[in-house]
Every structure is written in C-alpha cells, then in structure tokens.
Amino acid sequence: MALFMIILLPAKSGSHFNNTMMITLNNIHKTYETGSNSLHVLKGIDLEVGAGEMVAVMGSSGSGKSTLLNILGLLDRHDLGDYYLDGKLIKDMNETKAALLRNKFLGFVFQSFNLISFKNAAENVALPLYYQGVSRRSRNKLAMEYLERVGLLPWAAHLPNELSGGQKQRLAIARALIGKPKVILADEPTGALDSTTSGEVMDLFQEINQTGITLIIVTHEKDIAHKTQRIIKLRDGLIDTDHKNGHAKPITKAIVSL
C-alpha cells in the first residue's frame, strides 16, 4: 500500500491538488414526476468538490442526498443547472456517452453491494475492465491484485453469497477501484454493516482517498461522516451546512505536506 501511494502522489503537486475542481454544481434542480404529483427534490444545489477530497453528504431521508449522488454518478439526469465533472460540462448526455464516462471516471459503492450473484469475486472485480476492453488475461491478473489489496485474495473463487457483509463491501470497493476512477461515489456504504466492519470499510476509504481519488459518501451516520474531511448537510433539497471536518483533516494535511 505504501508503495502504491508513493507512485501516485508525485502527480498531485500542491497547487494543482488544491485548486482543481473535480465536481462543480451550479444551481442543480431535479423534479420527479409521479403521475399527477411532482416532487421537487433538488432545489438549486451549488457545490464544489476539489480533486482528492473526501466528502460526506448527510441529511434526513427525503432531503435529496441519494438523488444528488445519482446525478453526480450520471445514473440520473438533472433538470436544470450546470454540472461540470473534471472540468467537462455534463449536458445532453445520451446513455452511451454516460456509460463511457461512468466507466472511465466513476466508481460506485452501494449499500446493498450490487454484486452479480452468479459471478465469483474475481469475475465481479474484473467486470469494469471488460467494459474498458481490457483483455481477459490482463483483467484477471488485475482483479487478483485488487482482491489482494482489499484482503480478499483467498476468496477469489467464491460467489458473493459465500462472503460476509464486510467482505462483500470490500469486494465492491475493489470493483470500484479497478477501473482507476477519479471519483468514487458511495451510497450508504456502511448501511448494512455492523460498527466494526463499518470502521474497516471507512479505513479502506481513507486509504483510497490518500491515493488521490475523490470520494463522496452519502451517509446518515454521524461517526461515519466524521471520518471524512468535509461534511455537507442537505435539507429539503438545498445545502444546509457545509463545513470542513476537523478530525479528518490531519490525514490530508499529512499527505499534502509530504
């Protein structure tokens, strides 16, 4: 792991690291139409997330945090406003373009893991590489490396239902990582885990963040949020509070000072 960090860090020179915006949202609106009812979920979100940041999005149920994450992940489309991902305006995105961007830029971690049940651990991890057109041999090799990284190498041939919750989530994280994304979006990643495993998963996220990958984690658990550098609270479709999180900062500072 240490070796991995050293290789990647030189690319993140100080000023570049702080000034580059990975995600910029200007006045994002989203309304869901359900029959005659329309539900205005996001009512003008303005947000900037820098490259390499680790952000928690909190808020009560219905505050729009999952919707926000889906829009950020190109899984859903916003109605109004501008969304820049890595400096690119996301507009008039058709399914194919969105798929390619997701494949190249984004990694996902879900509360319910969303592993393919008939594929074993290694095959699940390798899947994003299949859609990148990586040859079978090299993606199998890479899958093993990433499984090793999350400590699941001995379980490479196991099906998801033979793994514990924590193992499943680590598997999902390895899958999110293998495509070398710039941003990992996690939707309640610890929602289905006990507190010990939750802690392990968050440690893993912090390690990942230290390699320069931007992390956005939706959660409603305070202790989870406090393991990030910045906590954004949503309320009724708007950003309520947005503050740097003291606890997490030292980690980032330590790296930046390197």
Partner: protein, 411 residues
C-alpha cells in the same frame, strides 16, 4: 479478440444459469420436434394415399365396350358397341390432351400356356406399347412390348413374375425362351410385376394388340381403350372424357347421353377427390404445425421476458460499471440466439432421427414412410430463432434503457 471475449462472457453466463438456459432451450427444441413429427405424419398420410393409387396411373380414362340402352336414329336399344383399331388411331390423333393411349384386346380364359412339362391357364392381354405407363407395370427383367412387336405382329410375350415362377422351374432363365400359347410359340421378352398385389393382375401375359388380333382371331376389334391425360386437372379430364364420349357417339351412332353404350371410368376425377381430402388433411397438419410454432414463439418470448426481468438488477450493475445500452442488448440477444439456435438444432435432429427410425417400421395402408421436408424444418427453426431474438430484443432494449438507478433500487 473483443468478440471472443464477448462469447466467453456469454458462455460464462449460460454456464452459471443452467436452469434458465435449459427451460428456454427445451421449449424451442420441443416446438421444432413437434413440428417435424407432425409434418412427417402429414407426408406419411400423403404417401400412403399415393401408394394406394400406385397400381395404375392416376391420370387415366378407361373405356370399355357396352350395349346401347337408348334408341337412337332408328336403331333399337341393346345394340352392342365394339371399338375397333381405327377408334384407337382416331382418339389418339384427334383429341387434344391425350398423352398416352393403348387399346386393349383381351382373351380372358381358355388359354393354355405351357413350357416343357409345366402349363397353366392365364389371361392374355393384347396392348399397345404405351400400356406400360398406363398400368404402371414394373419391369423386373427384359423389356416391354414395343412398337416393333406391334407393327410386325411379332409373337413376343411379356409374362408376369407369377407366370415365370409357375412355368420356369428351378430358376431356369425364361428370357428368350419360347412358351407355347394355345400351341403357338411366343418368345418371352420380359417379366413384369404389378405392385397392387392383386392376384388377377398377375395371372396375365401381355402381347402386342396386333399379334393378339391376328393370332387369336380378333380381326380389328378392341375390348377397350385407355388413355392418360398428362397432368390435367379433374375438370380438364372430365372435358376430355366428354369429348371422347361425343366423338365415339357420332362414330358409332349412339346417343351421346347413353351411359351404357360405352363405359367410361375417369381415375383423375377419383384421384382428385382423394387428393382434395388429403390436401385438407395436410392443411390441417400445417395449421397444427403453425400453431405449435406459435406456441413455441410465445414460450420463448415469455421466457426471454422473464430472463430479462430476472436480469434487470444485473443489467443495472453492468450499466453502472460502464456497459453501454448497445452492449447490454447484444449480450442478451446473442445469448438468446445461441440458445434458440442450438436447441432448435437439437429438436431438428431428434425429430428427423425419430422419423427415420419409425419410417421403416410403419407400413399400413394410407400411412407410409413419414418424412419431413428439410427446408420446412430448417425454416421453422430459423423462424423460432428470429422469434426468440425479437422476443429477447424488445425486453432487452427496454432493460438497456432502464436508468441504472431504477434497476439498482432496493426492493
């Protein structure tokens, strides 16, 4: 390379979902199998009918001498009408639509045919060379009575297999030997077999009609005339029959409406009645076959829909990981095509195999040698594959256009 990869992905999916694959495959294979069995049965029925009519041409019109039953132009009823050689040449040259024609001069009984110490009593039929086509005689050995025999009234004879066995003992070669017919020597030129299996058609020898008339005192008389009408329809055959009737009526001075003066039997009409019956049967079989195919199509469609529904979450995951809608559709479609094509082929092989197996065992009247038109079978298989494809395409397309977020939503 990428394509190979895709197939590996598909095989991987199939291998991990054996039950689903089996169910899809089974419904396709069963549809094709049933279609082939039904088609085979239809063909078997048709062949059975054709076999029943095989013993004589199915396009023949037979005419026999008769007696008038109506007074006509001063002639009393009860007058015998006898056809002569010139009726034969007249009909053959004057009536359009007649394909083959033969006169018949028969000596039914009282003949003794002998060779060495063996002898028997058989019918003698004097015929023209065309007669072989009319009666559909099978030549076992030698040749038929030919034009040469007819023109020169040669004393040649065609004997039946049965006569051959009766006269030539211990397997003695009969071709080229002389048998005596009513003490007159005739050279054996051929041996025939009549497939209808009736004994009275086998207790027979054939000679040229001119020979029969000359040797057995027949002058220019004929007992009957038989013609074939090519591939005329029943309607055309009836018109030819009516022409023959009216021409003969004016030549022999009898009332054209007199059905007793000459007897006509039109096998075309008879055959076409049967053909209609069996056309309806084979249409019925087609209807059942198409029904089976539709059931197969519905089955495959149903399964494909369920498969796609079943895979919605997987599709959502794949999309989140960067699968394009096109790659989702082609993944599902290629799998569907692979399964239906393979299963269709299995059904085809099993169906054709079963037909081949029972084909030799079955030999009942009106049902024999069931077999299937291979292009029909292959066409049906292709249809099912395309149906499976379409059935998969619509839900696959829908699944591919589902927003990943909907597919991934927890239930």
């Amino acid at each position: 390379m990428f394509d190979l990869d895709k197939w590996q992905e598909i095989f991987n999916t199939i291998e991990k979902n054996k039950m689903r694959t089996f169910l899809t495959g089974f419904s396709v294979a069963w549809g094709i199998f049933m279609l082939i069995i039904l088609q085979g049965a239809g063909v078997g029925l048709q062949k059975g009918v054709e076999n029943e009519f095989r013993s004589s041409a199915t396009n023949a019109i037979w005419v026999w001498n008769g007696q008038t039953s109506k007074a006509y132009k001063g002639n009393n009823p009860g007058r015998e009408i006898r056809m002569k050689n010139d009726d034969y040449s007249y009909l053959g040259s004057q009536i359009k639509g007649i394909d083959k024609i033969s006169g018949r001069y028969n000596i039914w009984s009282g003949n003794t045919i002998s060779y060495k110490n063996e002898s028997g009593s058989y019918s003698i039929r004097g015929i023209h060379p065309d007669y072989q086509k009319v009666e559909q005689l099978t030549l076992v050995k030698g040749r038929f009575i030919n034009e040469n025999d007819q023109q020169h009234s040669r004393k040649t004879v065609l004997i039946s297999k049965l006569v051959d066995e009766a006269l030539f003992k211990e397997g003695e070669e009969s071709l080229g030997k002389y048998v005596s017919i009513n003490k007159i020597p005739f050279k054996v030129v051929g041996i025939f077999d009549d497939d209808d299996g009736r004994d009275d058609n086998m207790q027979v020898v054939y000679v040229a009609v001119s020979t029969a008339q000359q040797v057995f005192g027949g002058a220019h008389n004929l007992n009957g005339i038989v013609v074939t009408v090519g591939d005329a329809t029943a309607k055309e055959a009836i018109s030819i029959e009516n022409q023959m009737k009216s021409k003969m009526a004016s030549r022999h001075h009898f009332d054209p409406t007199d059905n007793q003066a000459l007897f006509f039997w039109n096998s075309v009409e008879e055959f076409s009645r049967f053909r209609k019956l069996f056309t309806s049967i084979s249409m019925f079989i087609w209807v059942i076959g198409i029904g089976t195919i539709i059931a197969g199509v519905v089955g495959v469609s149903n399964i494909m829909m369920i498969v796609v529904k079943d895979r919605t979450k997987e599709i959502g995951i794949r999309k989140a990981l960067g699968a394009t809608p096109g790659s989702i559709v082609s993944l599902i479609l290629q799998e569907a095509i692979l399964i239906t094509a393979f299963a269709g082929y299995v059904g085809l092989v099993l169906g054709v195999g079963l037909l081949e197996l029972i084909s030799d065992q079955i030999d009942t009247p009106f049902f024999r040698q069931p077999e299937v038109n291979l292009s029909v079978a292959i066409g049906a298989t292709a249809l099912l594959v395309i149906a499976g494809m379409l059935a998969g395409f619509i839900p696959a397309k829908r699944a591919a256009s589902i927003k990943p977020i909907d597919a991934l939503r927890d239930e």
